[in-house]
Each structure stands twice: as C-alpha cells, then as structure tokens.
Subunit: 358 residues, 2 copies
Amino acid sequence: MRVNKVRLVDVAREAGVHAGTASRALNPAARDEVSPQTVRRVERAARKLGYVPNTLARGLRTSRSFVVALVVPDITNPLFPHIVRGAEQVLAEFDYTLVLTDTNNDPKTERSQVAAMRARGVDGFIVATARWKDPVLDELAEAEIPTVLVNRRNDGGRFPYIGGDDRHGIEMCVEHLMQLGHRSILHLAGPADTSTGRERTSAFRQAMRARRLPTSRAIVECASYTEQAGAHAVNAALDRGADFTAIVAANDLLAIGAQEALAEHGINCPKDVSITGYNDADFMRRLTPAFTTVRVPLNRMGALAARTLLAWLRGDEPELSTQILLPVELMQRGTTASARWASRKTTGRDGEAPNTVA
Amino acid sequence: MRVNKVRLVDVAREAGVHAGTASRALNPAARDEVSPQTVRRVERAARKLGYVPNTLARGLRTSRSFVVALVVPDITNPLFPHIVRGAEQVLAEFDYTLVLTDTNNDPKTERSQVAAMRARGVDGFIVATARWKDPVLDELAEAEIPTVLVNRRNDGGRFPYIGGDDRHGIEMCVEHLMQLGHRSILHLAGPADTSTGRERTSAFRQAMRARRLPTSRAIVECASYTEQAGAHAVNAALDRGADFTAIVAANDLLAIGAQEALAEHGINCPKDVSITGYNDADFMRRLTPAFTTVRVPLNRMGALAARTLLAWLRGDEPELSTQILLPVELMQRGTTASARWASRKTTGRDGEAPNTVA
DNA sequence: TTGAAAGCGCTAACAC
DNA sequence: GTGTTAGCGCTTTCAA
C-alpha cells in the first residue's frame, strides 16, 4: 500500500516553506527553532492536505522505528492476553506500535521470528517466552538490544524482569493448606526449563521446610504447563502410592488436570484432596468447585514491562538486574477444604494405610 | 536500535560486486538475472558478515512493508486469541509481520490506531471490530486499502468477510431446544450495532417462525456482549413476567450472565430453564453444568482472513463481496434439558401462571 | 529563523 | 550479467 499520497514536501509547498522547515515545525522537539507563525502555517497546510507522516521514512533516517515486539509462547493461553493488553495500552499511549509474535512454544519459531523483528528494526523486545537457558536471549544481550522479560526470566539475569512474587504466592498456598490441617502436600512442579517452574518449586520446598512438613517424594515435575501434564503427574503419584491430602500446582492448568485425574479415580476435590492453582486464569472462579489459586497482576506486569522498556529506549539504561516482583494475592475458593483425612491419619485414630487417597 | 551494522554495500564489497548486483543475488525474484557463481559469492559474503536486510529501507523503496495490522476490540475476550493465532501463523509463514491493535472497544481508539498503522505503511488490515455503521471502515474503503473483515462485518459489504454461519448456528440452537420440548424460547440478542447481533437475532426470528413458535416479546436486546448485560436482560425479562423455558443467548458471556441471574432467582439451569451459548469459548465446557453452545472455527477464520488478505496483496483483487461463512457445530452439553415446565404448561396439568420461571 | 543539500539502506530502470 | 544512477520520504547538519 502506498503509505500516503501527500508528503512533507507537499505540505511545505502548500505552506510556502522548505521541507526542512516543515519538518521542524511538525516535530515537537524542534518546533521552537521555528517562528510561531510558520508553525501555524505549516500545521494548517498539513491539516488541509490530510498529511500523515511516513513512519518508515522517518525510521530509516533516525534509525528508530517506534515499534516494540512482544514475544509470547501461545496467545490462546489465558495468561498472555492480559499481559499483551497491559503492554499495548502503555505502548499506544506513547505512540509506539506493538508487533505480536506467537512462537507456538517452539524455540525454532522463536529464533526466526526474533530475527525477522530485528530485520524490521524494532526498537526493543518484550519477551514472555524466556526459558531458563535461552540462546535467543543471549543473542539479544550480545547485540545489546533493549529487551525486557516478563512473566519468565532466564538464567543469566542480563535483562530487567517483571514478574509476580512467586515465592510469596506459593508460600501462601502452603500456609493456607496447612491452616486447613493438611500435612501431606504434593507439589505439581512446572517445567525445569522455566524460571516459574524452578522458582515455585524452590519456594514450595522452602515453605514446607519452614513448617517442618515433609518434602521427600512430595514433588512431581510436569513436562509442560498443560492439563494433560497435570493429570499425568497425579496418576504417576498415585501409581507409586504417594501420600497426600492436598496439592499445590504450579499453575492453573496443572491444577485442573490434577482434579480431573483424581475424579477419575473417584477422589473428590475438595472432600478428599484440596488443590490450589496458580495465576487465576479468567475461568478459574467459574469452575465447580471454583479453584483456590493465586492471582497474578498480569495486566500490570505487561504495562510495567512496557514502561521499563520505554524508559530504556528513551535513554534511561536500566540497572543491569532490575527484577521487579509484583505482589500476588491468594484467592480462596472451593477447591481447598479442611483436611479430614489428614487429621484422621495424624491422630492415628484408625489403622488406615498412609496413602490417604488410594 | 540500529537495525544492523552490516549493510548491503558491505556485503557487495566483500563479494567484490556492486550493491545492485548483490541486491539481485539476494532477491529470489531477481536471482536468475545474476550468474550462479556471483550468487554464491554474495551469499557467502552475506553469511560471513551476518547480513540482515533492512526491511524498512526496502519498504521505503518498494512501498511494501510486509506488515499486516490486526484490529481487535479486546484481546482478553476469549474469542480473539484464536483468531489472532490463526492469522499470525499464516502471516508468519509468508514472512509477513502482524501488528496487533487492541481498541479497547473504543471507536476513538480504533480510529487513531488505524491512522497510526496507516502511517506505518502497513500493507493491509484484518479487522475484527467492525460495527454495523463503521466510519473507520468507510475510510479504509475510500482509501482503497486492502482490508478483510473477520468475525463481524459492516453494513456496506465493501470488504471480504470471513465469519461463522450464524444463521445455521442459531437455527441449530432453536431446533435443539424444540426437540427437547421447548416452545417458549427467549432470545438474548447481541448489540444491534454488530453484524453478529443483527444476524443472530434475525436467524432466531426466522427459525422460530419456521417452527411456528411465538416470537413476540421473545427477544431482549443486550447493550454489549458481557455477563452483566446478559444478567440484566434476564432480569428485565423476568420483571415484565416473560414466559420462557429456554434461552438462546447470542454469545457465551450473555449465557453465563443469564444463568447467574436465574440462579439468583432460584431458577435452576437446566432443570427449570435451558440455555444455549454461542462461540464455545474455551472454558464453556468446563463450567458446571457445561454449556451447550455453538462452536465457531475461530482459528480457521483468522487463518482464512489472513490468506484472503495475502492473496489480495499479491494482486488477486477479491470479488467485491466475498462473504465466507464457515460451518459451525452445536456442542450439546449440560445446560439444555427436556422442557418439563413447558410440557406442564402445554398440557395445562395445573393452574399455574403462564410465567413458568417466576 | 529558514533554505540547501546530503543521506538513512535499499531497489529498479537503464546503460553497458 | 553487472555497474550506474536515481530516488523512496524524511531529518539534520551546515550555511546564509
């Protein structure tokens, strides 16, 4: 598409000035180098002709595109639309444009898409796909391209990162379950190649230890953040006769998968086993029973990531290791209930086997 | 960000040829104007220097940006991520970039964002925000900018449109409910400034008439596609003593809102009133009871919209009124059940008031 | 304060 | 086949 028929020269001619002058008159930063009446004449001419500046040409000249790329693993994962939206609103406010890249969870796609965005001359990246070891991020760091991480971070810590306070979130889950009387708590851990998986698992361990609760055999790693993985993990735990009255899942989908797998074994949630999720996806509160889960301020995370990047692009180089953890909130709902089974076992009232859910 | 340090001239120098030659060697469409060994030399040089073409500069020269803008009203509405994803996958496949604009349901934002995208020189638009009377679309048509409508269309019909077969979808709902014995069916209509609202309402009327079911006072318009609007509409219907045993909602959120409003009146779904939704958002099948709703192939709609636009950009001007309606599918689930109340009333077994739900 | 002129990196028409 | 040249629309020195 032809960007526009009317160019700056046309405006200049209409206003009876040189293109350079028109440019200055229209550029807020240079407007004061031009006489007020000239500014007015140029502005009138621009309006009259319906002038729209050609951002490409400007970008070519200034090597700034006013475009920011946002890389997500899967936009249909209910987590990301909120992040995208938060970011987009801030970017639009500052006249930046958002290009969205959905990598479909595929590192190859991610690499090629990031390369394509670089060729496009995007000014910076907001990356929500960080893996723990992430060569793509290493390249971005190498090339010194302004990049901000959101939701997940990578190992090196070479980029600013905006996330939720996972440690606190998980601790609240454990505390909540303990208050309800649970002692045997299973953790459905997220993938070890994501910071969220690692961080939440570590937080779980720490929270359990701090409360003198057992952690051995209390953690099952899930290969991905999907219902299938959650169901699979629970089945594996049951198969090996694991002993739990509650589950802390590393994310909502794992929690749902877990609940469904338990249901297939005739184990009711929350009557027999309590479950907590993580993220508070939109639909979690609508399920029956509604899920107890941790609300993460996704919109604010996206917005803050955008602000951080924008500040960087404006020249405020960030502290090498700005790591912002936004506060999270426990949403108490129907999937957690007091641990009848657990207390039964603890008091040893009867000779029942320790596997409370088999 | 400086797009790249190494330019085409650098590659050309390295390969010992002129920039123009290097350009041809690297351009698939012009490669055969160049001797094979030159092509090889240039390619090697490019690889050696890590050359990445500057898309901006190319775009400035060719007035094609290989960028497509996708305009959505609200990315957190579970409808749109699937459309976005379908479109993005196709666009990426053809080396196009997607810029996403979330208008926040605000026509003003939409207008300014579309203008910004135009200034950016996007090659075309995919618009998912169409209102029935839509000045922004009129401008796009006026400027002859390749634009494809998805999900909703506007009045004029000046653009290709990819949507679901709403008429058939609604008819399936009505038929399904009738099979279950329902005679008094209320329609929660979508906003009249959307084609989906109008189309589904018209389809509802037609389906009811064709079955000789009453349509007077059977339609309540909702101001927006939100739960609140759905609840409000149901309350209004109850207040005026409306007579229904089933509801056909114009979309899932309206259906949920309706169910919640009914529940507050002590009316159970599906025992007392059956409800159908529309779109089959991800979480609809998880609710308790799971919602009977119409599945729309959102991903395919997005993908097809992208393909249609791409074909246009490649020069295949579309038929002025390509209107593609993809087949939809009724997902029968727990929110619809046989009409006990309705039959009770029909048989007049007791003297109960005609308002079956009060 | 304004005009002139150069050039961002690339491609395409034209020449050789 | 390859080099030359002009120019996409804009910004920004440098002069005047």
